[in-house]
């Protein structure tokens, strides 16, 4: 019987691998357009100059991030070039402190500390600092963390400039659309 011949299964292995690889390449090309800066799901870095919201959209049946009117960060208006440099610096600081080995970004990372996907919009900051002071408040926390409940973040000795770059990164990231993750964000603020 042909199934007893290894060559039959070899042909199955080669053809399935090649076919699936080809499909992956096609989907990758398409996906990279969507997730590029300025693509349909990922805003340009100067979104840090604007107010960001993340709320349930009945039309899309999921939580959607939106950029609204102007809401400056650290009291200044960044040009696209400046914003890009600041957010890039933020990523460098995030990697240098291995943030991802305690926290998660879009749910990826370690599971020891809170997810940071919408940290900029978290009620713990947004309810107390709805306006322009939020950036400074989170910057101060990142530089000198205080205990929140059971957990306390270590002091990783960020300079003010480093901490501001991290905050800019978190603000930009909160505006990325992620198919409704996390769902029900802020639904139960004081559980």
């Amino acid at each position: 019987m042909y199934t007893r011949d290894p060559a039959f299964w070899r042909a199955a292995a080669v053809s399935s691998t090649l076919f699936m690889s080809a499909v992956l390449v096609i989907l990758t090309v398409n996906t990279l357009q969507t997730i590029s800066i300025g693509g349909s799901n990922v805003p340009t870095y100067d979104v840090i100059n604007r107010q960001i919201t993340y709320a349930y959209d009945p039309a899309q049946h999921e939580y959607v991030a939106r950029a609204g009117g102007e809401e400056l960060l650290f009291g200044r208006r960044y040009t696209e070039k400046e914003a890009t440099a600041l957010v890039a610096r933020g990523k460098l600081v995030i990697q240098s402190r291995a943030c991802m080995d305690c926290h998660t970004f879009f749910g990826n990372g370690a599971y020891y500390a809170p997810d940071l996907t919408r940290a900029w919009l978290d009620p713990i900051w947004a309810s107390e600092y709805p306006g322009p002071k939020r950036g400074a408040a989170i910057t101060a926390f990142v530089m000198h963390p205080f205990r929140i409940g059971f957990h306390v973040m270590p002091n990783l000795h960020l300079s003010k400039e480093e901490a501001q770059a991290v905050v800019a990164y978190l603000k930009w990231m909160s505006a990325v659309n992620t198919n409704g993750f996390p769902d029900g964000f802020g639904r139960a603020q004081s559980r």
Binding site: T17, F150, L156, G180, R187
Partner: protein, 467 residues
């Protein structure tokens, strides 16, 4: 014995040492969850976790390299080409690991500059090793690939297993190049990062361990090459046929288009199929051999590999992979439960199998059995199942209360830390970690002393295998 096989023994020894280091840092990482201020600002959780998961990758990689160096001369009937370079690079590999570990422990992190990424920490989960060390790993992998390819070409033995292995080495080396870039855009960063983490671990590693287990099956049970190679092809067809697009289950929530929810959900639901095939094959082999073999520990670890892979990677993976569930289970202890079980079943058990085969050959034991391996087998598997079960309880609690009901805020996260099911789960995980550690200690004792301090004759002879 071939020089290549002596090199394999060195790799196995290094792998077992790193297995031990991984276990200790796993234990310390587990302790932070029940005592969050443990060594705060001195030795933080992230450093402990980095050492835990990087030694995991490295001990398995060293186990794979050792296994291939062990079986390759038998397959090609000759010494491995370029064995001198491979021997030198083994020591380079060890020194690199020691230096990186020392820097992680002492320096831990650096300022937000490129210098930090080059020399201290790259800070991307699983690829924290600084770039200079990543370059060294690329060199080691390239020489390993040269060893396999050149030996195959010289021997002119283009067996199915060798051809699958050679083709697998290409993505194994190429995908690792993903360990270098710094991409500001988190969506793109994670998109490519999963090519490394998923396509390495859930595709190229699966094929690599498939080749190794094919050799192990022929060595241990005398299975026919024709059958083993057919199974290997079936496995490649199913693993890559489902796993390549199964990559999509990591592309649900990182900014990627909506079609990944369907693609990733569908193909990752099929991913258990090849693993089910392995279990069927293992049950068949166990029945044919009446649960007896000349090397009982290797035989039992091979069965553990088949079942662990199917349940840990297949069933536990499927359980949380559909997007409707993953929306809440993603990034919780549920993931950690699946991750522990999958790595254990898919790879760790397989590497231990080959190490026992090598111990039998090098210590001249015609039969291998005894009491110690049974204790280590029982303690390690009980410890692992306990940890996985505890993390599953904690993870489901987290998915419901922090994610679904609490809406994933910091407050919801803090509230979770007081949920009894979560805290009890974390304590249970730590305690079963102690059981696992005890199992490792017995395993190390058994591997070191078997056929040496305890003579071969002391190893209990197995009952005569039924014909």
């Amino acid at each position: 014995m071939y020089r290549s096989q002596r090199l394999a023994l060195k790799y196995f020894a290094a792998a077992v040492v790193l297995f031990g280091v991984m276990t200790l840092f796993g234990l310390s990482s587990a302790f932070y969850f029940v005592h969050p201020t443990f060594l705060l600002n001195t030795f933080n959780f992230n450093t402990s976790k980095i050492l835990h998961i990087n030694t995991l990758v490295l001990w398995l990689l060293m186990g794979f390299f050792g296994s291939v160096y062990w079986f390759l001369p038998g397959e090609t009937g000759r010494e491995v080409e370029g064995i001198g370079a491979a021997e030198v690079l083994f020591w380079v590999f060890c020194v690199v690991i020691a230096v990186v570990a020392a820097v992680f422990i002492v320096v831990q992190y650096g300022p937000g500059t490129e210098f930090t990424l080059w020399f201290i920490n790259q800070g991307r989960k699983y690829v924290e090793a600084p770039r200079w060390a990543a370059i060294a790993i690329v060199v080691v992998a390239l020489v390993f690939a040269y060893n396999v390819i050149a030996s195959t070409v010289k021997s002119r033995n283009y067996s199915g297993i060798l051809m699958v292995l050679i083709l697998d080495l290409i993505p194994l080396c190429v995908l690792y190049l993903d360990a270098f870039p710094r991409i500001t855009n988190m969506s793109k960063d994670l998109f490519w990062w999963w090519w490394l983490v998923h396509l390495w671990v859930e595709a190229t590693w699966e094929i690599l361990i498939g080749c190794i287990m094919a050799w192990a099956l022929m060595d241990l049970l005398g299975s026919s090459r024709r059958v083993v190679e057919s199974w290997l092809y079936v496995e490649v067809a199913l693993v890559l046929g489902t796993g390549i697009l199964g990559l999509g289950h990591h592309y649900f929530w990182i900014g990627t288009p909506r079609y990944w929810l369907g693609v990733g959900g569908f193909f990752s639901a099929l991913e258990p199929l090849p693993l089910l095939g392995m279990v069927i094959h293992a049950i068949y082999d166990a029945g044919v051999n009446h649960m007896q073999a000349s090397n009982r520990p290797a035989f039992y670890w091979m069965l553990a590999e088949a079942f662990g892979n199917f349940i840990g990677a297949g069933v536990f993976g499927f359980m949380m992979t559909l997007p409707q569930i993953n929306l809440y289970s993603h990034g919780t202890q549920w993931t950690a439960s699946h991750g522990h079980f999958a790595f254990w079943g898919a790879y760790a058990c397989g590497v231990i199998t080959v190490i026992y085969l090598a111990v039998q050959k090098t210590r001249g034991c015609s039969r291998l059995d005894g009491r110690a391996w049974k204790w280590s087998f029982a303690l390690l598997n009980l410890g692992m199942l306990g940890m996985v079960g505890a993390l599953l309880v904690a993870g489901i609690d987290q998915a419901f209360f922090e994610r679904a009901l609490g809406g994933s805020t910091w407050s919801a996260f803090v509230a979770l830390q007081h949920q009894p099911w979560y805290t009890e789960g974390m304590w249970a995980r730590f305690l079963f970690g102690l059981v696992f550690t005890a199992g490792f200690a017995v395993l190390a004792y058994d591997l070191i002393t078997l056929g040496r301090i305890r003579g071969v004759e002391e190893a209990e002879p197995v009952k005569a295998a039924a014909a």
